[in-house]
Point group: C2
Chain length 287, copies 2
């Protein structure tokens, strides 16, 4: 079988991880790395992995899908995923391509675990607890407070989906910590959670791309209560995101080859399509 030709668009933390994962894949070759300001005319690939900021993703996905190129992205604005998918659906079907959207670990592999656990115990509660790990959204919000030179907002899981925010701030010269703290605690990003603000001399000294998930379900299977399930991970965040995007790039090309075209989230994919090797090899090793 010919190897899958992969292009990367966007070359930050995630783009670099995607490059590593493509290099390590036995069935893929890298055909180009593009920055989001580049012209994409020379982009030639079976599938392009979009590693740009999330807000730019839909426009790039649309342009590439219009050329029949499969795309994979980690679009993560939860409330907009359905609309984005619906928008790409007719174009990908018309162009006979496959776009996999909202891939990564959450949304992404966590969504797959939540779907599986819901099938295994249809009544009950699932709690997804994140961290400890850096929240990008909250970090950006903290950095935007007047007097803050640099910031890091860590998400700390308290169980039952409740999180504490530990916000480490490095102040501008002359800024007053108490004022910064009060403004931050009033910000809508922080006003609804238990939040602690801590002044530090250097935010860079705290930098760590580790993250984690503790996902719990207690539910009912076939009328039997107290079925207990738990999924935990502690991971390097960009490495895992990049690896999952690459696995989804493989799935996209396989689905296109089978004529299963359109726009999909990860819960709509067969897990075997994420893996190199033949169906028989994977069934033998995993089932």
């Amino acid at each position: 079988m010919d190897s899958i030709r992969v292009a990367i668009l966007g070359y930050g933390n995630i783009g670099r991880a995607v490059e590593q994962a493509v290099d390590a894949a036995p069935d893929m070759q890298l055909t180009g790395i593009f920055h989001h300001t580049d012209s994409l005319e020379s982009l030639d690939a079976d599938v392009c992995v979009l590693c740009t900021p999330t807000r730019e993703v839909p426009s790039f996905a649309t342009r590439l899908a219009a050329r029949g190129i499969c795309t994979v992205d980690s679009f993560d604005i939860h409330g907009q995923i359905l609309d984005y998918r619906a928008q790409l659906q007719p174009l990908t079907r018309e162009q006979q391509s496959v776009s996999i959207v909202a891939a990564g670990w959450d949304p992404g592999s966590d969504s797959v675990v939540r779907a599986l656990l819901l099938a295994m115990a249809p009544q009950g509660l699932t709690y997804t607890n994140f961290g400890p790990g850096r929240s990008m959204g909250h970090t950006v919000a903290a950095k935007s407070i007047e007097g803050v030179k640099n910031a890091l907002s860590m998400t700390i899981p308290l169980g039952t989906g409740i999180h504490r925010r530990m916000v480490y701030v490095e102040l501008e010269d002359g800024a007053d910590f108490h004022t910064v703290e009060q403004n931050l605690l009033r910000d809508d990003y922080f006003a609804h959670d238990e939040t602690h603000v801590i002044e530090v001399p250097s935010v860079d000294a705290l930098n760590n791309v580790a993250h984690g998930v503790h996902l719990v379900r207690n539910g009912v299977s076939a009328n039997m209560h107290n079925q207990n399930f738990e999924f935990n991970m502690t991971i390097n965040n960009p490495a895992l995101t990049g690896q999952i995007l690459v696995a989804c790039a493989r799935a996209a090309v396989r689905m296109q080859q089978r004529g299963q075209c359109g726009c999909f989230t990860m819960i709509e994919l067969a897990p075997i399509d994420l893996l190199p090797g033949t169906t028989e090899e994977n069934i033998k090793a995993l089932v």
Copy 2:
């Protein structure tokens, strides 16, 4: 949408759990329960869930697939799954039906978790640790030892896929415990694991259908080592098996309706097909 018409073949622990799960499903109706000695001429359903002893499963699946009826089973002889799937494949494609084989929790949902973790961290080691819970195969082996009236073999996880066997035996009148113990420890089912034999006055007093899994992977994503993943569950075994079979019955009918016919294991299914509700509802709730 019309509700899915489900028949059950075999009415032991699993068959009864399947009945409960179908009753609780918002999109299914039960059309009949058959014992494995019944004539199946009157069996009329979109999908039949096979709850007979595992060795009888392939013959029933073949007979039903030949009539274009979808089937779901928990065939669990690991070394024979690929052959069984290959045997049903041409028939199901010809009859435009779907058969889902080796469904349940292992093989089954554990296989899905193993596939997902392999995609998330392609290099590394996965260990599936079972229990504490009753091993059917080892219990049957223990019961077959001369002088044993009743037995229960519990599987105890010791980590890294190594298990201890705790075998509780109730003796026939006049049987010698030491002789029974020696014969059991020499039996091929027990000779390779740490095994403890314990005499009890009543095996029935110990009966418990609880089981568990502790599945662990430490691996490499995009060149980053030490990615840690863990999936745990403690469950009522027949209830979970029955529930998963019913979720797969739903997937079988959906795949047939889409023309995606053939014979599949659970790692070849999209998790969303296991769930009632529309694609949009499930993406909104889970992704």
